[in-house]
Subunit: 137 residues, 2 copies
């Protein structure tokens, strides 16, 4: 099963030309901790997270309504494809201390955004099901 | 085993009189997404998270160096004690959409700060160990 099954139906993304304020508004509107930054072809250019707001915006005196998100996004981004396994994705996110991992097609176009929270929850569901099956057999 | 085993050794906390900037700096310094706000007796008064920065600071034009964290913290806080089980803690955090849960003593004094990430990881470790034991037996 593709790792896309664990992603929200539509990943939160904003264009490279969006302001920081627009990116934050999109995150708040959808209740998520990260927005993917995409170019005009939906190709992933970077990611902007709550951590970036703390590190690069909140204490700098920069005006979020003026600064473009491309100036403060995290780039390059580590990405995964539909062929990435749950275990590989988890290993990367733990190693790199990333809570989010964009899933892209062969042209780096955005398909979904995986959160470590959903990945860990899915692993628990898998293990619980396996464990229950073992006890029945 | 107490749920405190899953918490960082020292929870990140700042006094009620700290500024928003001081709270954010403490979070960045320790690489965490939340700081507990405590009074002079280390009693929990509120919590301040990355989400609060987005919702109540980043877009408001408030100066983090001037505004006190007590004005923008989340309060009241849902808390747990050392007697709370892992399962109860997880249920509360999922239901309330909280990523952090302060652990307190009988006088509401801060003992630790639990993150849902650590809780989910512990659950996976438990299930994996149980599953391995079943297969061996």
């Amino acid at each position: 099963m593709s790792i896309l099954r664990l992603c929200d139906e539509v990943p939160v993304s904003v264009p490279l030309t969006a302001t920081v304020a627009q990116a934050i508004e999109a995150m708040l509107q959808h209740g998520v901790g990260a927005a993917v930054i995409v170019d005009e072809n939906n190709v992933v250019a970077g990611i902007f997270t709550e951590r970036d707001v703390l590190r690069k915006v909140a204490l700098t005196g920069k005006d979020p309504k003026i600064v473009e998100v491309r100036e403060v996004m995290t780039t390059p981004v580590i990405m995964a494809t539909q062929d990435t396994s749950d275990a590989e994705a988890l290993e990367v996110m733990v190693r790199e201390h990333h809570r989010h991992l964009p899933i892209v097609d062969d042209h780096a176009r955005l398909l979904g955004l995986l959160s470590i929270r959903h990945l860990l929850q899915a692993r628990i569901d898998d293990l619980t099901a396996q464990f229950a099956a073992t006890r029945k057999s």
